[in-house]
């Protein structure tokens, strides 16, 4: 479904964000890119729909190599969920969700915001599935809570009926309880439709709970690729604790992960 052929990325300022990554993500897999910030998760994720172009190597989606000419048509089959939700603040919930289907709508319809019935029904179904109520439809997204906004973001991403869904730290700006709800929602929606998901996360406990497969990155290199069980067995030392400061009693966040892993195992 999604293949990275020895992709690497060096930014203009000289930082090597990714070095020679080879990956093959099969259809329907819920795949988590795990790693601390600056590991290259987002860079790899953005390469999948060409928001970042690789310095070397190629990206293949459904047997097609991503290039300048097909990038627009490929993007129209790839949904995306963002860390900051990236909804349009003054637009209603309904319009934000409908805007997810913009590639399929004529310019005239888009301009007058007059969507065909099928799309309007799809939007309503999706909003109901993600747990919003009819009274939310006409509300501005800025009036919603963070969790609700990300639900709208997920509904918008599925408007495309995407074959591939990219989620860039979808729960990084949400509190832990809401984070788990959103991850569960994302996984359920994707599984129901057989959508392939690549989701970047920095919380190992969420990765272990929801992923089919975990790909861990560190410093732009692939350091782990396997199932959650294998990750638990291998431990997180390679990803988090090598050059991170040692956990101290004053900084329990740094060793909260292994405890949770034990509890889950």
């Amino acid at each position: 479904m999604l293949k990275f052929h020895s992709v690497s990325k060096r930014f203009d300022d000289g930082t090597q964000a990714l070095s020679t990554i080879n990956l093959d993500i099969p259809k329907g897999q819920f795949c988590v890119l795990l790693g601390p910030s600056g590991a290259g998760k987002s860079t790899l994720l953005y390469m999948a729909n060409g928001l970042v172009t690789s310095t070397t190597g190629q990206v293949e989606i459904d047997g097609k190599m991503l290039n300048r000419t097909n990038i627009k048509s490929i993007r129209q089959t790839v949904g995306m969920v963002h860390q900051q939700f990236n909804l349009t603040p003054r637009l209603s919930v309904a319009m934000n969700v409908l805007s997810g289907a913009l590639p399929f709508v004529s310019y005239l319809r888009a301009a007058v915001m007059w969507y065909p019935r099928a799309l309007r029904e799809r939007a309503c179904n999706l909003l109901a599935e993600v747990g919003l109520a009819p009274e939310h439809l006409s509300r501005r997204v800025s009036e919603l809570s963070g969790g609700q906004q990300q639900r709208v973001g997920i509904a918008r991403a599925f408007m495309l009926e995407p074959r591939l869904l990219l989620a860039d730290e979808p729960v990084a700006s949400l509190d832990p309880r809401v984070s788990r709800e959103i991850m569960a929602l994302l996984r359920d929606e994707a599984k129901r439709r057989g959508t392939t998901v690549v989701c970047s996360l920095h919380q190992p406990e969420l990765a272990v709970e929801f992923a089919d497969r975990i790909i861990a990155l560190k410093g732009g290199k692939l350091v782990f690729d396997g199932s959650p069980d294998e990750l638990v067995a291998a431990g997180l030392d390679g990803i988090y604790q090598l050059d991170a400061p040692k956990p101290t009693p004053a900084n329990p966040a740094l060793h909260v992960a292994p405890q949770i892993l034990e509890a889950l195992a």
Binding site: I71, K72, M80, N86, P89, G100, L102, V105
Partner: protein, 339 residues
């Protein structure tokens, strides 16, 4: 008493909180004052302050005489009371029907003393000449209001045309949407050109092209306002939050749809504010460009001014003032509703 700061651990000397003002700021302040002093003396600013002071003193009885106060009083006396009625000599009205007067109108006899030479006695004789005048009590106010209506129409059309013209200009003048450097440069320079030519000058030329009347006025105002709106629209597009736009680019929505859904909803309140400001400005400017024959109330104003009918000028000024006041209320309310 021991200061509590002694108990704090020593921190690195890198921590230094400087004062917000430095000698540099003081120097800039002094330089600015020097520039003001220099230009002020060239522009006779001291005389202005002196004479304003004199006039204020005169108004409260502190100063003996003030030429400024006297001049202002003269203007005030000629503008007020303002002319509201329309007085026309009956004999000058064609097909005058005495039994069917206009609404509220009445006929007054005006007596004027005349002096003429008696050819036989070679003496000056005074006589009284009676003229019948038709007085329409609100006649002149009505004339002015009709002209003001025309001015508002000019301003409205100028605003609509300016908005239509500035939308494509803004698209090409926004660096993140313009297709390439050349279109960006062309759009930016046309915006600057449009803005740099004053309406009054444009109107002068357009009157030559289109003749006297509102067309020249509407076009002159629209062109200038398009330059203004194009610049501000474009800058708002550039400064809009990138995040919603990114999410639409990521699904291949295309530039125009991204602009419509990712940018426009964000900038609409500012756009409405700009448009209302332009409408307000166009109303005020439409009164001015009438002076060069581009239609509206300005034409009436100029005519009355040239004929020294200052009480009529007073009426016109009062009507303009009230209109601008009402418009201000209207735009404040509209803005509040839309935000």
């Amino acid at each position: 008493m021991k200061s509590s700061s002694h108990n704090l651990p020593k921190i690195s000397p890198d921590w230094q909180l400087t004062q917000p003002w430095t000698a540099k700021h003081l120097f800039i302040g002094i330089a600015l004052l020097a520039v003001l002093a220099f230009t002020g003396s060239r522009l006779e600013m001291p005389r202005m302050f002196k004479e304003i002071g004199e006039a204020l003193g005169y108004s409260v009885g502190l100063t003996e005489k003030s030429p400024v106060a006297a001049g202002l009083a003269r203007i005030g006396n000629s503008l007020f009371p303002i002319q509201i009625a329309e007085v026309t000599e009956v004999s000058r009205i064609e097909n005058f029907d005495r039994n069917n007067l206009p609404l509220f109108a009445r006929i007054e006899i005006q007596e004027t003393k005349t002096a003429h030479l008696n050819h036989e006695t070679l003496q000056m004789e005074t006589g009284i000449e009676k003229k019948e005048m038709l007085v329409a009590p609100l006649g002149y106010l009505k004339t002015v209001l009709v002209k003001m209506g025309e001015t508002l129409e000019i301003a409205l059309w100028a605003t609509v045309l300016a908005i239509l013209l500035s939308i494509p200009l803004a698209y090409y003048a926004a660096s993140n949407y313009s297709p390439n450097k050349l279109t960006y440069f062309l759009a930016r320079s046309s915006i600057s050109l449009l803005r740099s030519v004053p309406e009054l000058i444009t109107a002068l030329f357009l009157v030559l092209a289109f003749g006297f009347g509102p067309i020249a006025g509407v076009l002159a105002l629209a062109l200038h306002a398009a330059g203004f709106l194009g610049k501000f629209y474009a800058e708002d597009i550039e400064n809009a939050d990138r995040k919603p736009q990114q999410s639409l680019e990521a699904i291949g929505a295309g530039k125009l749809k991204t602009l419509w859904y990712g940018v426009l909803p964000q900038v609409i309140p500012q756009y409405v504010a700009y448009n209302l400001y332009i409408l307000d400005r166009n109303v005020r400017m439409a009164t001015v460009i009438g002076l060069v024959g581009a239609g509206g109330i300005g034409q009436e104003l100029k005519g009355r001014f040239d004929m020294f009918h200052f009480s009529h000028v007073g009426t016109i000024l009062v009507v303009i003032f009230i209109t601008v006041l009402l418009l201000d209320q209207f735009s404040a309310r509209t803005r509040k509703k839309l935000l």
